[in-house]
């Protein structure tokens, strides 16, 4: 019998294109599994068997309550988790490419904090001085505020930490600390001004959660994430070239300044909109791209779409854990991602194949 062969010529040594395609296929399968787990697992009695019945067209076997749980509770939550996870991981990967630095992560360098601050400001001042704006923008008020918060932050960070096209890790981290301190101070002011209901909302942002997911929230984040995902094919080659430096990227035909502006806006859009709907969820943006670089190399052609798939899968699995381990209580998802992500991050710093401290700019 003829063995199954790919319609491709044998891979050229050192070319990881086929490896990238394989990993992407694996991630797609993982994502489907994660979606099924997220839809079929929870504190209520609705399980995978019910989900299977529902999906195979035997929905009438389920009670109305079970259907409502699947359609109105788990489905929006899964969709939201998918979008948030994809947004976090892709914004992390893009930021690492922009700063030419594998340690850059919106959470670590303070962009998430800036977006969160803008979101909190929107909550507290939405009834006060920002009321006309809130009325004008409606449902998009919160995500847009968080987006601009993230945008100002990313832009400031880039201006401060980058000199002659090189970003210093030290400047980046210190900048993150300073922005974090500033954010905490302003957040404190806003908390003093907030009423009880607003305080509850603020606590939600700072811990991060997919709880209370509605189709409204899914709809408010969808345009942001969709835009970020759509630009991936157009920026991937540019980000690869940018790793060699601004000058080399220009020599290879990349309009460097335009690319950087696009990336800054994309990072702010992905980061800001996820913060607006789910609060600050750490480490997804750094762990997912890192694991993928180990699996298929650093080329953004596969890293960016792979991060979208992997980030979605990771967040759905983390959320499923958050919902079930302490049921009926629910853990904040930020706790789960930090518990998993922080050790992985430290391990990457130690590991031979991970970040080499020596090579950092």
């Amino acid at each position: 019998m003829k063995t199954l062969s790919l319609p491709l010529r044998p891979a050229i040594e050192g070319d990881r294109t086929q490896q990238g395609i394989l990993v992407m296929a694996g991630l797609a399968v993982l994502l489907v599994v994660a979606c099924l787990i997220s839809l079929g697992v929870g504190p209520t009695g609705v399980g995978l068997a019910d989900l299977f019945a529902y999906l195979t067209g035997n929905a009438d076997k389920l009670t109305t309550q079970e259907r409502v749980i699947l359609e109105a509770v788990r489905l929006p939550r899964t969709a939201l988790g998918l979008l948030v996870g994809a947004g976090l991981a892709v914004s992390g990967a893009m930021m690492q490419g922009l700063f030419r630095n594998p340690l850059a992560d919106p959470g670590i360098v303070g962009v998430t904090a800036g977006a969160g601050l803008a979101a909190v400001a929107a909550i507290v001042l939405g009834n006060g001085i920002l009321a006309p704006l809130a009325l004008l923008l409606g449902n998009q008020f919160l995500p847009l505020m968080a987006f601009f918060g993230g945008l100002i932050n990313t832009w400031a960070l880039y201006l401060i930490a980058t000199r002659d096209g090189r970003t210093s890790t030290t400047a980046l981290i210190l900048c993150g600390i300073a922005i974090g301190a500033l954010t905490a101070a302003v957040m404190g002011l806003l908390i003093v001004m907030a009423d009880d209901r607003q305080l509850r909302d603020i606590t939600f942002w700072s811990l991060g959660s997919l709880g209370g997911a509605t189709f409204g929230r899914v709809a408010s984040i969808l345009p942001f994430i969709a835009c970020v995902l759509v630009i991936i094919p157009f920026v991937a080659r540019g980000l690869d070239a940018l790793i060699l430096g601004d000058a080399a990227a220009f020599h290879m035909g990349i309009p460097v300044q335009r690319l950087k502006k696009i990336i800054i806006v994309a990072v702010a859009a992905a980061c800001g909109s996820t913060v607006a709907v789910a609060g600050s969820i750490g480490f997804v943006g750094i762990v997912v791209p890192h694991l993928l670089r180990l699996a298929m190399g650093p080329s953004h052609r596969f890293l960016l779409p792979g991060s979208a798939l992997g980030g979605g899968a990771l967040l759905l699995i983390a959320d499923s854990v958050a919902r079930t381990v302490a049921a009926p209580a629910e853990l904040p998802i930020g706790v789960i991602t930090a518990l998993f992500g922080a050790p992985v991050f430290l391990f990457l710093l130690l590991g031979k194949n991970g970040i080499s401290m020596r090579d950092l700019p």
Binding site: I12, G14, R16, N101, I254, G297, S299, I355, S356
Partner: protein, 260 residues
């Protein structure tokens, strides 16, 4: 032909390059020499389109550089930068492939493999760039530049190869072979511009030498006109050094091209 006309670059009140005219002809290996801070790299940045001059203009084959799109420029000129460090583990082939992609190659991976072979790095395709030695990294970058302009002339338009200190961190054998590859590129009708510090290499390979000092062209011409006691004394502050042999007991090695 690439023509730079009356180029002046001023940064914080200092003229880095002042009223420089330079012409890069197809088939000609042009070398810029001069001491540190003479404005060699600045001039190359202006010529490659990376930096806009404060005064003057650059044209590629009659077309003003300012109206050329970066992607069009990338198809007709490649630049070998000085040492590049990466924090991401691209393989040698992936780095080289970027140049082939910039050229618009149909099979960039295969073009990259050929380019690596041209710089003597076959078998290195899989190696992560950060794990290579400085000289090997430099040759991977050279392969990337070659993959970007694989032919000296395309559709009747000469391509250009800009090399900023291509021999830094290379051993003698590889210094020669990199410059020989560049000379072959020029012989085939391409445009080559290199910055060199080694005057012996410059004399051996250059068809046209430009001596830069304090941002001005001191002398421009063939090597016997440009490398003279007068000019070397004026520019480098070392008198009577041209053609003087070291003391009798001291062995010395002059770089020599293999096929001339």
């Amino acid at each position: 032909m690439i023509v730079a006309d009356n180029i002046t670059v001023t940064r914080s009140g200092r003229h880095l390059v002042q009223s420089v005219d330079i012409q890069l002809r197809p088939g000609c290996f042009t070398v810029i020499i001069g001491p540190n801070g003479a404005g060699k790299s600045t001039l190359m940045k202006v010529l490659s389109g990376e930096m806009r001059p404060d005064e003057g203009s650059v044209s590629y084959h009659g077309k003003d550089l300012n109206i050329c799109r970066p992607e069009d420029l990338a198809r007709c000129r490649a630049v070998l930068p000085q040492a590049t460090q990466l924090a991401f583990p691209f393989t040698a082939l992936e780095i080289t492939r970027m140049g082939a992609v910039a050229n618009g190659a149909l099979d960039p991976s295969d073009e990259a493999r050929k380019a690596l072979k041209r710089v003597g790095l076959q078998g290195f395709e899989r190696r992560p760039y950060p794990s290579l030695s400085g000289g090997e990294q430099q040759r991977v970058q050279f392969a990337r530049a070659l993959a970007q302009v694989p032919q000296a002339v395309r559709d009747g338009v000469p391509n250009a190869l800009f090399l900023d200190e291509p021999t830094a961190s290379l051993d003698l054998g590889h210094q020669i072979s990199v410059l020989e590859t560049a000379r072959d590129f020029a012989s085939a009708g391409g445009i080559v511009l290199a910055i060199l510090h080694d005057l012996n290499l410059a004399a051996e390979f250059a068809d046209h030498l430009v001596v830069l000092h304090h941002g001005r062209v001191v002398k421009s011409g063939i090597c016997t006109d440009a490398i003279t006691d007068d000019i070397i004394a004026k520019v480098y502050g070392i008198g009577g050094a041209v053609g003087r042999l070291p003391a009798a007991h001291m062995p010395y090695v002059l770089p020599q091209s293999r096929h001339r």
